[in-house]
Symmetry: C2
Subunit: 409 residues, 2 copies
């Protein structure tokens, strides 16, 4: 292999590979073994490939979002480590696809009950004092009611992801425009073809809202709102309006279609809860989980916990189907409104059991069971349940099979 | 544009674009204006593109590493925000290119002065208790002595980058193999064609060394050591051996070519410093910096500070050529051995001046001037100066031009 050769593995074809040999699938579906000179048996014997302007993943790494139709893709929680979601694997949820926005033409309008209506270019937004924070964004519909025993963490809860976001505090922009004393809500409007709109209390703007232009160090990705999105830490994802182009201040909510026909939560007795912004504490074990097959011995149970109300204070683990609970280790630093990695070392003796995780947050809120949720709110309605954060269990069979325990879907 | 159309902008051709129109450069070098249906004048009027398995950057975002030959590429510090470096923009330094390593065939050997020589597969490494931390990796040669007034932050100091790393503590593996009481050093060997080798004190292994298999949530990138690298937080980058395949315990250093002919620091009087592992505190202003042209008014001075010795405790800023210093704001959370984002709001009155930053760390160490460094160690030798961390200034001219101040190169 010459110094400038790049690996030539075709990802669509590759099934498996070992030193110098690859197993590929042909167009007709046949699996054949081929010599692959791009996979040296001894990598010390061939010069490697040169430095490049932008790095890529190893061709052996195929981790992907799972795409549902054109408007949803889910983060592969079971394949990820730590707390940061790579930008290319951040979940997507959009109502009319990703718009293509020219950053040179971009403008953000703030008007309505303000002293000085203003437009800001992207360059102007970047000149304001900046702030950075790591936080999760979770879709309020982050649980498919069709979940069954063979549902993975990605399909069950992959509508939550975490990035390091940078931008300007919305409070800073509102100081520029001035806002009327009676302005209590603002409309956030996206420039996608759905013209996504939500009403947000001004109180949140003055608390911790960010007009974000960077994600994990670089420009926000198109799927997350390029060039600029609203970021409302801890609140349901749809309120962090992507491709943000306009904010209008008012003394009342705007009652947009996204908060009347959608993103409202049917409760019992026909009552509907509106403006349920904050995401409740939740946790999920990402290992072991379906489709892992375990062998008896020491296992590090791993997962993520998060809450829209501040810090996760504890994650309890049960390895005996909920009879007893022990505290997992939380990876420091535990940040507010952020995915918190938990780990718990456990020796599985080969007996069937159920493992579960339960998140607690700084407000004293404890992640509820499904029964507790349904007593309070009734059964979820589909296809995705809103603000539905039940304790999730994985059933481990004696043959090592791990299946999603009934209940969460 | 149909729902499935993707933007068709050719990055090599694109010079500028505005609603519906792109300016491109033809093969002959001519610049022409073309209608570009992929850039809608009003993005709300056309359906966007659908969800995808792996997301990409906006075609308008061209931020890149700068490649020097085949063996170096630098992080575009001036284009990044916050503290995380996107994996594709993490600097590269390698001595024989990037090896292609099949993760199924990967093995890590630990032998020498151990009780039980052992080999670990990648799957076995991932089963051990894991740990995650955010830290920088900086090449010890992170300053080109050819730097001049028109050197950017990327070219001056782009051999430092930051990731969230996950892996198994090396101490955990050494508990598995057992190590002899007299084992005080170990050899770390890479499986690249240079067979990169360094001697590392066992003390560091037992302190905070990590065998890392994940970077920013996903598998370590090939340019950073896929599938497994050694991570020695705070130490010069070459000791965090990439593509790690072997560790040999011994009672003395191995005196490899990388620690005799290279990675040793000539001092005054012909003395050479060997095993200078820890990276000293350093800072650099990334905005404003060459080639930015400023206009008078409020400016947020931004940059990064870091130290291999723990936490950054303060970054001082001078906006009057070093006559007075004020504390910058540090972005929380300030993590140990990590890039720390600093910001300082300043009103430039249009007069020529020099702005500078000075990092202090928890040991009381203060980033030195070039004169202090040269008094202690003599002038640096090239082409890259090792462990050379002088206070860096940017000269602002009355026309707003920003140039690298003499001294750091």
């Amino acid at each position: 292999m010459s110094k400038n050769d790049q690996p030539t593995i075709n990802r669509r074809q590759l099934l498996a590979a070992a030193g110098g040999v690859a197993i590929i699938q042909t167009a007709s579906g046949e699996q054949i073994q081929v010599a692959d000179p791009a996979i040296p048996a001894d990598p010390t014997k061939v010069p490697g490939s040169p430095a490049t302007p932008v790095g890529t993943r190893s061709p052996f790494e195929q981790t992907q979002r799972r795409v549902f139709g054109g408007a949803i893709s889910t983060t592969p929680l079971q394949d990820l480590h730590g707390s940061i979601t790579p930008a290319g694997l951040h979940f997507e949820r959009h109502h009319a696809g990703l718009p293509t926005i020219d950053p040179q033409n971009y403008e953000l309008l703030i008007h309505g009950m303000v002293d000085r209506p203003m437009k800001f270019s992207l360059a102007e937004l970047k000149r304001f004092p900046a702030t950075t924070r790591i936080c999760f964004i979770e879709c309020s519909g982050n649980l498919p009611i069709w979940a069954n025993a063979k549902t993975t963490p990605q399909s069950l809860a992959g509508l939550t992801s975490q990035s390091e976001w940078t931008g300007v505090k919305l409070a800073t922009l509102f100081r520029e425009t001035g806002i009327h004393p009676k302005a209590s809500w603002f409309l956030a409007e996206g420039s996608d073809a759905a013209v996504m709109t939500r009403s947000i209390p001004v109180e949140k703007a003055l608390d911790d809202a960010i007009i974000a232009y960077a994600q994990n160090g670089e420009a926000v990705r198109p799927a997350q709102g390029y060039p600029v999105r609203l970021l409302l830490p801890g609140w349901e994802g749809n309120t962090s309006v992507k491709w943000l182009r306009r904010m209008e201040l008012s003394d009342r909510p705007f009652q947009t279609r996204e908060e009347t026909s959608k993103y409202s939560d049917p409760l019992k007795d026909g009552v509907v809860r509106q403006f349920s912004f904050v995401m409740d504490a939740r946790s999920i074990i990402t290992f072991p989980a379906y489709p892992v097959v375990l062998e008896p011995g020491w296992i590090e149970i791993r997962g993520l916990a998060w809450t829209g109300r501040g810090h996760i204070t504890s994650v309890d683990i049960s390895t005996d189907s909920g009879n007893s609970w022990q505290q997992a280790e939380l990876q420091a630093p535990v940040l507010p409104k952020a995915h918190t990695r938990f780990r718990y070392l456990w020796k599985w003796d080969g007996s069937p059991t159920r493992i579960m995780s339960r998140a607690l947050d700084e407000t004293g809120y404890s992640q509820p069971t499904r029964a507790q949720l349904e007593t309070a709110r009734g059964a979820p309605q589909g296809p995705f349940a809103y603000h539905y954060n039940p304790i999730t269990g994985w059933q481990i069979e004696s043959d090592g099979t791990v299946l999603l325990a009934p209940g969460p879907g």
